[in-house]
């Protein structure tokens, strides 16, 4: 804590120092600025070129014909009635996006949406009024240093998690079915493969994980080796049809799938004995 007189004296001293020993902005400092600006403009143009030349006119060719290193030129036209689109924000909002996924209890939603961003903004605004010491050397400002490191790490982690956050959607999960069949060794069992397809398209992976696919966000168990328990297909199909009969009141009932699909699902689960 430095008194305002001290700080004024320091600033007066700074003014004198600069006046007597400073350098002229032009051209000395401005040279650096100009070089940096050239770098900035070059980077922007380079990004634009890479983005354009690795993408095609059709957003659906991304990942196939075109590599789309920096994403497609545009996605499909906006459709407010969509039932299969997975919304994602621009990268600089990934931290906020992932924050919203972290606060997965209804009472805490407001913390992620307005609470934390508002607190961050207030901290930034009051910072110069809280830290009124004259000290500016970083190593003598341990609180500031630790805060900076923590902010950088958490922003980095949140951004990375946001960028890689995946939803277990039927259309994507179903492509993994042949791999599952091969790794679990039930490729020859028609019922099991059909059951795997039912598993992939019925939203099971919204809560469960299976051989690395799916979401563990909600705390449901991994099912890659559920068949090791030795229970037969019938056990699994009746369990899935109405888990509450087995004391599980968290998992929804899947009786609406119908007997055939439930049976296939049961075969699939009992054949899932872990990858070979």
């Amino acid at each position: 804590m430095a008194s305002i007189e001290d700080r004024r004296a320091q600033f007066t001293q700074y003014k004198q120092d600069v006046k007597s020993r400073g350098k002229s902005f032009y051209p000395y400092a401005m040279f650096h600025d100009t070089v940096m600006s050239l770098v900035v403009v070059s980077v922007i143009i380079a990004l634009a070129c890479v983005w354009y030349f690795t993408s095609g006119t059709d957003p659906n060719t991304c990942g196939g014909k075109d590599s789309c290193l920096l994403g497609p030129r545009y996605s499909e036209p906006a459709d407010p009635g969509t039932t299969n689109f997975v919304p994602r924000p621009d990268w600089y909002f990934y931290f906020l996006f992932y924050l919203l996924r972290i606060f997965k209890w209804p009472n805490t939603v407001i913390l992620g949406t307005v609470g934390i961003p508002t607190i961050l903004l207030i901290i930034l605004i009051v910072l110069p009024f809280v830290d009124v010491r004259r000290e500016r050397r970083l190593l003598r400002r341990p609180v500031a240093l630790i805060a900076a490191v923590l902010v950088v790490i958490s922003m980095g982690v949140l951004t990375y998690k946001g960028a890689t956050a995946k939803e277990a959607l039927a259309s994507e999960v179903v492509q993994a079915v042949p791999t599952w069949a091969q790794r679990q060794g039930f490729a020859d069992d028609k019922d099991a493969v059909a059951g795997a397809t039912v598993f992939a398209t019925s939203g099971c992976t919204a809560c469960h994980t299976y051989l690395g696919t799916g979401s563990s966000n909600l705390g449901a168990p991994d099912l890659s080796a559920i068949g090791k328990s030795g229970q037969g297909p019938n056990f699994f199909s009746t369990y899935v049809a109405d888990p509450s009969k087995y004391g599980n009141n968290v998992m929804p009932k899947f009786a609406a799938l119908g007997q055939t699909k439930l049976h296939q699902l049961g075969v699939f689960l009992s054949e899932s004995k872990g990858p070979k």
Binding site: T82, V109, L169, T201, S202, G203, C204
Partner: protein, 320 residues
């Protein structure tokens, strides 16, 4: 002359009714613009102009009186004449002290600031009103004809996509999950769930097989309306692709961040057609299908609590 205000503060204008008349004229313009722009508004304008002119005349009387030819004559009166009373003319005024603020400058200061505020108000009030007010008016949710009841077989879920405002085009495309619950007390019963996630409004997806092969399109109701029906089996309820919210088939939250159940739509059966009404918010649903007990509330935005103690955070909803 019995005007009391001239006795000790010579340059301050006396009380006047002109400002009141001016204000009445402005009020008349505003009322006229709403009620009858062709007749009442011009009358108000005329009143405002006349009173404004009189007010300005009145307010600047002292200022304008200075160069009147009479005063120099007075000033040229013989030196032996008795001093002119302090309330007459300029000559009797003592020379102002340096930096003294005498009434006229104070008046000019006040009127400059006041007129500036009037100009600012005249420009910004309509502009801000134009920007803000329309957002809270109109729109609303019209009834949407979804076509004959035959298209909704009992016990089956249909992903129903339609245009809320067919004339507005794609931007008004909406999706609802509809299930025919069969008859309840002799009336058909439906469950109509909005696909807008109760967390932050992402489009929820059915947790179960979708059968696009059995897609059906009907074009009932208004011109431009097109209703698409795709069967689905949301055995695991509904899931949100953004932040992982999960719902059971009745729309109750089962996991994740959603603050309440999925919104629903009112419905009616008119001439054998299913007609969609206004959406409303649902805290939670007890029971299933046609016997469900729905805890309904006025439509609220996603992420806004409608029950529990958190509802104090959202005491009022904008009018729609």
């Amino acid at each position: 002359m019995t005007e009391p205000q001239h006795e000790d503060r010579p340059h301050l204008p006396g009380p006047s009714l002109y400002p009141i008349g001016f204000a009445a004229g402005v009020a008349c313009i505003l009322v006229g613009l709403i009620v009858n722009p062709t007749l009442i508004a011009p009358i108000g304008a005329a009143i405002a102009i006349v009173f404004g002119f009189l007010w300005a005349r009145d307010a600047t009387m002292d200022y304008r009186r200075e160069p009147e030819p009479i005063e120099p004559e007075r000033r040229e009166a013989p030196l032996t004449a008795p001093p002119i009373p302090a309330d007459r003319g300029e000559a009797a005024m003592p020379a102002p002290e340096p930096g003294e603020r005498f009434p006229r400058s104070r008046f000019l200061e006040a009127s400059t600031l006041g007129l500036g505020a009037v100009i600012g108000g005249l420009v910004t009030v309509p502009v801000v009103g134009f920007m803000v007010v329309p957002a809270f008016k109109g729109q609303g949710y019209p009834d949407v004809d979804l076509g004959p009841l035959d298209n909704f077989p009992e016990g089956k879920w249909l992903i129903t996509t339609f245009y809320m405002h067919p004339e507005a085009g794609n931007v008004s495309r909406r999706t609802a999950y509809i299930r025919n619950n069969g008859q309840l007390n002799g009336e058909p019963s439906f469950t109509i769930i909005s696909n807008r996630c109760a967390h932050l409004g992402c489009p929820v997806q059915p947790n179960g097989p979708v059968q696009p092969g059995d897609k059906k399109q009907v074009t009932p109701g208004e011109k431009g309306q097109k209703v698409t029906l795709v069967p689905t089996i949301p055995a695991g309820g509904f899931g949100c692709p953004c932040h992982g919210g999960q719902y059971d088939p009745e729309g109750n939250r089962t996991a994740g961040p959603p603050v309440r159940a999925l919104d629903r739509y009112q419905y009616a059966v008119v001439n054998g057609h299913l007609v969609l009404g206004k959406p409303f918010s649902v805290a939670h649903v007890d029971g299933e299908g046609k016997n469900a007990k729905i805890h309904a509330y006025k439509l609220a935005g996603p992420g806004q609590h409608i029950d529990g103690w958190e509802q104090i955070l959202y005491p009022i909803q904008p009018p729609h």
